[in-house]
Structure formats: C-alpha cells, structure tokens
Symmetry: C2
C-alpha cells in the first residue's frame, strides 16, 4: 500500500528561503518565524501520514453509499474528520472573530498540500467548507455570518457549492433552478444540481449548501443568477438545528476516482434559501472565491503528483530489474535497482522537478492572495487573477501526467489497484475538469485576463520577469547559463505569443482562442522556470552562507537545472503552434468531421 | 452509453488509395480487390458495432469473477465469442492448412482495429490466442501443430503468454519457474506466473498456455529460458480432451481497466509441459511473435483513441454550451454546440489527426510484416523490427493522451462512469505497460534496434523519407509547403538526434539512453508526418481523378495540415531534450533523491 511523508524540508525551503515569508510586509506574516511554521507543518505532517494517508485506499475501495436518503462515508472517515477538527486544522486561516486562528493563507496552503496529497477525496470535505465559509464571510450579513461561520470554521457544519445542472456546466446562464421570494424575505429553491462534491455525508451535523438559482422576473441569462444559502437543517433563532429542509440526495455518482468523496445529485423541492449578497449578482459572489478555489485545485494537481512520485521513487530504489549499462551498482544482488536506468531517472526527474516547481508557484500565488486581501493590494490582486487559470490549468494537466509517469515506473504493478498508483492518477484526473475545465481556464486566460485593465497585469508579469533577470544576472556564470538564459528564451516565447494575439486576436478572435491552450501551458512553463531560477538562487545563497544541508541544496539546483534543460524547451513548440493560428484548427467545417 | 461505428471509409482509403494493397507485390495481396476488402470490413464492422461494442461497458462493470477455481466472464461474452468464432473472424490470416482463411495480416489488422475499438478487453481473448498460434506455427513440431493449431484457429481453444513472475517482468533472466525433464520427453512445470491476460475463462474448451521456464542445469539468466506448451486439459492421442493439468488460477487481479479480460495469477504445480522450439532458446521463440504482438498493442492505443474520439465528436456536436465568439451558430437554440469553440475544435483535431495518422502507420507496418513473412524480405523485416518499438510506444502513449482529451470534451460527465469515457482512458492505459513498458520500448529502439545490422535499417528509413521527399516535391506548391517542408524539418531533427547518439552514445551510453524516450516520440512524429504526407498526396490524386468523395478527401488534407502545423513541431523540443544529454538526467545521485 502506498505511503505519504510530508516533504516539510522542501516546504520550509520555499516558505523561508525562497519566499522569505517571515520578512514579507503582509499583516500576520511577521509572526511566521521558522520555528513556528516548522512546528505547524511537522504536526500537520503527522496527521497526513498517520491519519489521512492510511484511509486513502479505503476511501477508494469502499466509496460512499446512499442508504435511505443518507450518505455513509467510508469506514474511518468520521473518526479522522473528528481528529482533523479537534486538532484545529480546519480553522487555520479563518477569521478569529468566528473562531479561526487567523494564520495567513500561505500557511494553510502548505498544510492543504499535505492533507490533499495524503487523501484528496477526504480533504475535499474541508476544502469545500472553506470555500463556502469564504463566500459567506465576504458577502453575508452580520446575522448570516454569526449563524453559519462559527460552525463552518470547525467543520461541525460543512459546505458545498451548487452550480452545475444536467444541461449546463460552463454556461451557467442556461440555469433552470429557480428561487421564489417569500413573504419572510427567504426564497423557495426548486431545481436539480449535479456533481455536488461533499453534497451529503455523515461527518457533520449540518450541510450548508451555496446554491445558484434564478429569481423569476430577473434579467435573462447569467445576469439573472443569484446565490443562496440553503442549509440541510434549518437553524433556529438560538442556533440549534430545526426542521429538515426540502433538499435531498438524488443519487451518488459513480466516478473514475475520488470515491471517498460523495459526489451527489441534489434535489431542491421548494427548499428554504437565504439570499447571499445582492440579488442577480450571484456570479460575482461566486467569483470572489474563485481565485482561492482554483488555486486549491492547482494544488491538488501537484499534490497527487507529489505522493505518486514519493511512491514511484521508493519502488525505483527497491525493485531489482536489469543492470546499469555503465557497470553493476548492486553486484551482490541478482540485479540493480530500477533507479540506475537513465529512462527511469528521466521520469523521476520529470516528476520531481515538476512537483517542486509547482509547489513554489502555488505558495507564491497564495502569498499573492494574502497580499491582495490583507494589504488590499490591487496589483497583487490583478496579478493573481491573471495567474489563476495558469495555476489551475497547467498544474492539473501536468500533475495528472506526472501521476501517469509515476504509475509507469511500477510497470504492470502500476495497473493493479492493490498497489495504489492507479488511484493517484484516477483521483488527479478530476482536477483537470472541475472548477472550470482546463479548456475554460485557457479561454479565461486569453479571452479575459490578458486584456483585463488594459493588459496591465500581463505587462506587470513581464516586467517582473525582466527585472528579475536583470537583477539576478552576472553574479554566477554557471547559474546565468543554466537558469537565466533558458528563462529569458522562454519568456521571449511567451511575449511572442502575446504579440501574436495582439496582432491577430482583435481582427480574428479565433486566432487567439485557437492558441489559448498552448498559451496556458507556455505561461505555466515560464512560471515554473522563474520559480526554479529563484529556488536555485536561494539555494546558492544558503550554500554560500554555510548554513543548511548542502546535499539538499545541491539537489535543488540539479533538479532546477533539469527543469530548465528538459522541460522549458517546450515553450518553443507551444509558440510555434500558437503562431500557426486559427486556420489549421478551424479549416474543417463542423459538418465535415 | 458510448457507441462505435467502424470507420470503414477511412480504413479503405488507407488500404486502397494510400497503400494500394491490391497492387502490392506480396502473395495473397493480388486477391485484395476493393470490393472484397470492403465486404470484409463492412461485415466485421457490424459485428463490432452490434455485438462487441454493447458489451464493452458490461465487461467493465461486471468484470471477471473467480468461483471455485473457474473464471466466469461477464454476461454476454460467451455468446459474443461464439458469434465471432462462427463468423470465422478468428481465422482470417491463419494458415489454411489448419483451417485458416489465409488472408494477409494487413486485412486481419484492419478487422482487429474494429474489434479492439469496440471492446478491447473482449478482443484480447482472441488476440492472445493468435499470438500463441503464431508461436506454435513457427516453432512447433508437426505433431504439436496438428494437435493445437486447428482448435486455436477457431478459438475453440484459446491461448496465453506466460512471462512475468512476481519479482521479474522486464528482466526475465531472474525467472524462477522450472521445467524438469521427464522420461517421456515432457517436462514438469513448477512456478508462479502473474499478469496472465485471458489466463482462464469459460468461453473455450481448453486454454493453451505458453510458459517460459528454466530447465535445471541450463545456462544462467536469460540464456537458460525455454518455452513450453502447457494445456489446461491434456490432449489425448485422438485429439479429445484428457485429464486436467496441474495448472490453476491463484486469483484474478483488480485492475484499473480491461475488467472484461481475466488477468490471472497462474500457479503451475508440476504441470505437464511440452518443449516448444529448442531448449534454452525460449526467448527467441517468444521474440518471433513480438513484432506482431507489439504492433497489436500499438493498434489498441489508437483504436481506443478512435472510439473515444467518435463519442467526443458526437457530444461536441450535441451539447449546447456557450456561443461562438464570431457569431451564434445556433441562434434559435439556447446556446451553440461545443464544436464551435476553437479549443474544442483543437482537441478534436488533435484526436482525429492522431488516429488517422496512426491507422496509416499501423497498416503500413502490417503490410511490412506481410512482406517480411510472405516475400521473405529481409529488408522489410529489418525495417519493421526497427519501427516496432515506435509503433508500440508512441501510439500507446499518444493514444492514451487522446482518450484523456476525448474525456475532457465531456467536462464533468467525462468523469462519471455512466458516460463511458473514463473506461476508454482506463482501458487504453494498459497498452503503455504490457508487451514491454514504453520505457523498455525506447531502450529497445535506441539500445538495440538503431545499431542492428550496422545501422542498416535506420539508414533505410532515412533513405525512404529522403526519396519520398525528392519524388513528391514540385508537383503542388501548397502541398510542398504544408506537408513536405515540415516533414523535411522533422526528419532533420530525427537525423540530428541520431547523429547526437552516434557521436556521444559510444563513449557515454547514458547520453543515448537518457534521450531514448524522446527519440521514440520524435521518431513517431516523423512517421506520422510521413503517413500524412502520403495520405494527402493520395487524396490529391483521387481528387484530381474526379473520383471519390470530394468532401471526405478535402477533410483528409485539412486534417493532415493540422498534424503538420500543430503536432510535428514537437520534434524540435524532443531534439533539444536529447541534445541536453545525460548530465541533467543523471546529475543527482540515487541517494540524493
């Protein structure tokens, strides 16, 4: 059975030596000294390893079961959820006013990586609650906040997000669920929602559904959509639970993976709902939590790759098969371990260099969210808004690929469920789809984010890379050659793609849209290239100071060199595809397919 | 539920207009007039669509069950197998001396594509039997042939291949199964084999296991391995079934996919086996059927992509979501179909251009096998031997990617098992692993095949491309620009990679091996580029003759242009990775991971 060990040393390296969070000028960061963060991650790591990881296979094999209208989670989930709750792990970055610990989002993100790697399906119950918490925290009335937030911070009550209906996912303007105003100010919600993660279960006292619906008579399409709080059990004045609301589980979906999470069809039959935020402004309310939610999904992508990599590495060191062509490495054994073979090494380096680069990228993004929220920094908000589709789309695509590569290291055993490698790939697969399928992320990036605020944020990104290159250059020739030169070339490819869109996209929108997916990946590679340059620079600095673990730091630099040499060249191909334009993509009429 | 319709028109185009099989100078090909082949494919297509495809989901959900030592296949499999058998579909290219129809392998391959696309797990029962048939046909004594082949041609008796043991897959020299000689000339086989596809089931009267084992006292390692025929039921002199042999099913593996095929742990407890071919030359006997078997797996890769594509296309035409940015295409409906969106179109074109290119590549390879066997053409044999790892490795990797893309077109529904798209990806995944994991294919290609016969075959490949480019050039400027220029550039990248290996691989074997995987993909792209140029050329010819379906032929050219513009640029990145050499790959010591 696979295992998971939290890579605390790697996490600390990013937080402290690369992002230097303790010294960042963001409220709350001043308390993030090395020891405190280390203690949090060490403790969380134990929960991940000892409580959550052992339940990962259990969740996959047992799945969730709907019995007499009630969802039963896999054996052990409820106890584990209690432990997570009691350890305060659900409250890390929540508002102290409602019982939270008020820690920065970046720290909660690092813990989230551990929990998600250990057991993705399990961690979603908490993750969705956090999303709903954020929406109520931002848009709720004082009453709503007082009623719901304290129990959601502790996950005594969990949350869900209800967007999709059978006939509409991305295009929510087609929505049919309706919300009829009642005399007491509440609404009666009627309709069916599908793909509702954590839609119902037996681990909390109440489930707080956030439901998009249309108030009759409102504007057509997406502009007439409002957001409602629809609790499973109505809440009395004194905060105690009242009647069962008219919401029920239609069925649990049979999915490719994340079997431990109950993905429900939810039926609303005149259920009582409370408007959250303004009427007809439901999408805006939903979108305020999108950056955070999508970053969380990007995190899932590399977190699954991390745990898959850990197990592939262990197998590659353990399994004896064939001989090193340059001379036996295990001459007394019947064969050498797999890791001696260059192609296995290539695969492991692909995985390792992706995961570590992705981690830095996501923590950087989380710090940007903290900066946007805690410093009300509009530039940071614009930048993270631009990068969100890259984080979500690129990291989940590549994360899934890396899970597939990790599975491949096992040969035939990778295909047998007993070994657990298939589950990592099957679980990771959903991250490419939910929270906006990756094609929609690419559309969001190219069709919306690039031009946002007059293109200000993408220019800020280019400036950031440019200043970094200028400032880092000239200190170390080997570093310049291995890191800065490839980063500069990749960044040039990205600018070339942006230029192509500017010159052609206005006239022919399809010229930009046909290249959107490649652009998202091109952007992602540049970001990981930038992260690797920063990590290598940080490793060099710590090495020069004589502190730290030299072998660990050298490994960081070697891993980064691999990414720059072997992964970053992809940017040239992405640019070439983009520059081939819309014509080859759209040449066939739909009828000619 | 997904459906499958055999793409007979596309298949016929490759066979007749591109490969022009009816006029090829290979014995048996002279009878392959258009009408005969069309009739075969039409009939087979009906079986695939009406008998096999409807059982695909059934096979996945029910799986195979081991009860009291006997394997039960999913409901409907036995009837379907009877229909396939009675239709003569198992005997297509088998030797008429043993009841076969003596058709060329290339025709059986086209039918195999249909059956495999319709139901991969089901078609493996027949596929493995064919592999075992070929081994006995090539290496068996007259008695062995007379005893086993007639029943295997009809699949009254099915076959298996037993190579892997728990501690060894690729490195078969570590094998422990032993074969003790008996006085009557037979051997007693003792040991455990794992991952035995179609290892046991209820659809045939007997199962003929081909088992690799070591005769005590023979050479160490791989040179001491022999191949044995071990029937489930011993066969009496008169051909009737005798006693149950001492072979049993230990368990059925729980796998990621191909649940309809019984993947068994087989226990041999002093089972009676008959030496097939020479003692200690078991690997040679196994390898004679490797080209064919690996081509068959490459076929599975693109066949799953074909059926996944068919369903993604139907969904993209049907599902209404969002609007075409260039103006509504379905103004009277609530939204436009998915297919109007450029990124969906990109995905569909990726899939379509891959599948059609792969089909031509595999049929070309099958014709090469026919040429090697029927004309005893050593050059053809060398060429197909070189290309086999490319066909197997490249087509299964890309085929799986395309299944993933097809699944992505469905958005959330792609993740729900009910829609069937997950199964295509899960089933296709095994093709990257079995018959030699794709990393081993890359090793075979670079470590063995490139240098085989003094590098003669790779030079022959380069010559083939070069002559083609010279001969095709100058007839049509648009064709030259869209097809020949990119093919030339890609082929130059391939030669550059070959050159890099020559200059560095002798001194530093790892310099070649670290680039082996990229080389396999680079080679694959060049092959598909070559196939697309040939297909476009053929389409142009038919168009010029005024015959054929103009819309169909123009779509071929457009699809080819897409491949050349959007996929072929990958060769540059592969070359760049290869030229970065072994250093970045091997820089980290195994202990530093």
């Amino acid at each position: 059975m696979p295992t998971y060990n939290a890579p605390v040393k790697d996490q600390m390296f990013v937080l402290n030596d690369v992002l230097k969070i303790g010294t960042a000028d963001i409220p709350g960061y001043e308390d993030l000294d090395r020891d405190t963060v280390q203690a949090i991650l060490d403790e969380a790591g134990k929960v991940a390893r000892d409580v959550l990881a052992p339940l990962n296979v259990v969740g996959d094999t047992e799945g969730c079961v709907l019995e007499n209208g009630v969802v039963r989670t896999p054996k052990g989930f409820k106890d584990a959820f209690d432990q997570v709750r009691e350890g305060g792990w659900t409250a890390l970055d929540c508002d102290p006013e409602f019982g939270g610990q008020g820690l920065p989002y970046v720290v909660a993100t690092a813990v989230g990586e551990q929990f998600s790697a250990a057991n993705m399906a399990f961690n979603m119950y908490q993750g969705l609650t956090h999303g709903a918490y954020s929406a109520i925290h931002t848009h709720g009335t004082e009453d709503q906040k007082a009623t719901f937030l304290p129990r959601m911070v502790t996950c005594e009550w969990t949350g869900t997000m209800n967007l999709t209906e059978p006939h509409c996912g991305t295009d929510l303007g087609l929505m049919r669920t309706k919300a009829e105003p009642q005399d007491d100010g509440s609404h009666k919600i009627t309709g069916q929602k599908i793909f509702i993660s954590a839609g119902d279960h037996d681990m909390s006292d109440n489930v707080v559904h956030l439901v998009l619906a249309k108030i009759p008579g409102g504007p057509d399409g997406i502009k007439g959509v409002s957001l409602f709080i629809v609790p499973k059990f109505l809440v009395n004045e004194d905060g105690s639970l009242g009647d069962r609301n008219a919401v029920s589980v239609g069925k649990i979906e049979e999915k490719m993976g994340i079997h431990g999470n109950s993905t429900c069809v939810m039926n609303y039959d005149g259920a009582t709902g409370y408007l959250l935020g303004e009427a007809h402004k439901g999408m805006r309310a939903m979108f305020t939590m999108m950056n955070e939610a999508r970053l969380g999904v990007g995190l899932q992508g590399y977190a699954q790759a991390e745990v898959a990599y850990q197990n592939a590495l262990a197998y590659a060191k353990d399994r004896l098969q064939g001989r090193d062509v340059t001379g036996a490495k295990n001459p007394d054994g019947p064969a050498d371990p797999l890791i001696v073979h260059p192609d296995i090494r290539r695969s492991l380096m692909d995985q390792k260099s992706f995961v570590e680069g992705a981690r830095a990228f996501v923590y950087w993004g989380a710090a940007m969210i903290d900066r946007a929220h805690r410093n009300s920094d509009k530039d940071a908000d614009g930048l993270i808004s631009l990068m969100t589709p890259v984080i979500k789309g690129f990291l989940t695509d590549r994360g899934f690929d890396m899970c597939t590569q990790a599975q491949q290291v096992y040969g035939g055993h990778g295909y047998i469920e007993e070994w657990g490698m298939s589950q990592f790939a099957r679980d990771a697969r959903i991250a490419m789809i939910y929270e906006g399928a990756n094609g929609v992320q690419a559309l969001d990036l190219v069709g919306r984010k690039l031009a946002q605020d007059g293109g200000k944020h993408v220019m800020a990104f280019f400036d950031m890379v440019k200043s970094y290159l200028a400032e880092a250059k000239g200190k170390d020739e080997a570093f310049d050659k291995a890191f800065l030169d490839p980063l500069k070339a990749a960044s040039k490819d990205l600018q070339g793609a942006g230029m192509y869109f500017m010159q052609n996209g206005m006239k022919t929108p399809n010229a930009a849209l046909a290249g959107s997916y490649d652009f998202m990946h091109l952007f992602g590679h540049v970001c990981l290239g930038l992260m690797w340059a920063k990590m290598a620079e940080a490793a060099n600095e710590v090495l020069a100071s004589g502190a730290g673990d030299a072998e660990f730091l050298k490994a960081k630099i070697d891993t980064g060199r691999y990414y720059m040499a072997r992964q970053l060249p992809m940017t040239a191909t992405h640019l070439k595809r983009i520059e081939s334009g819309a014509e080859p993509v759209m040449a066939l009429e739909a009828e000619a397919f």
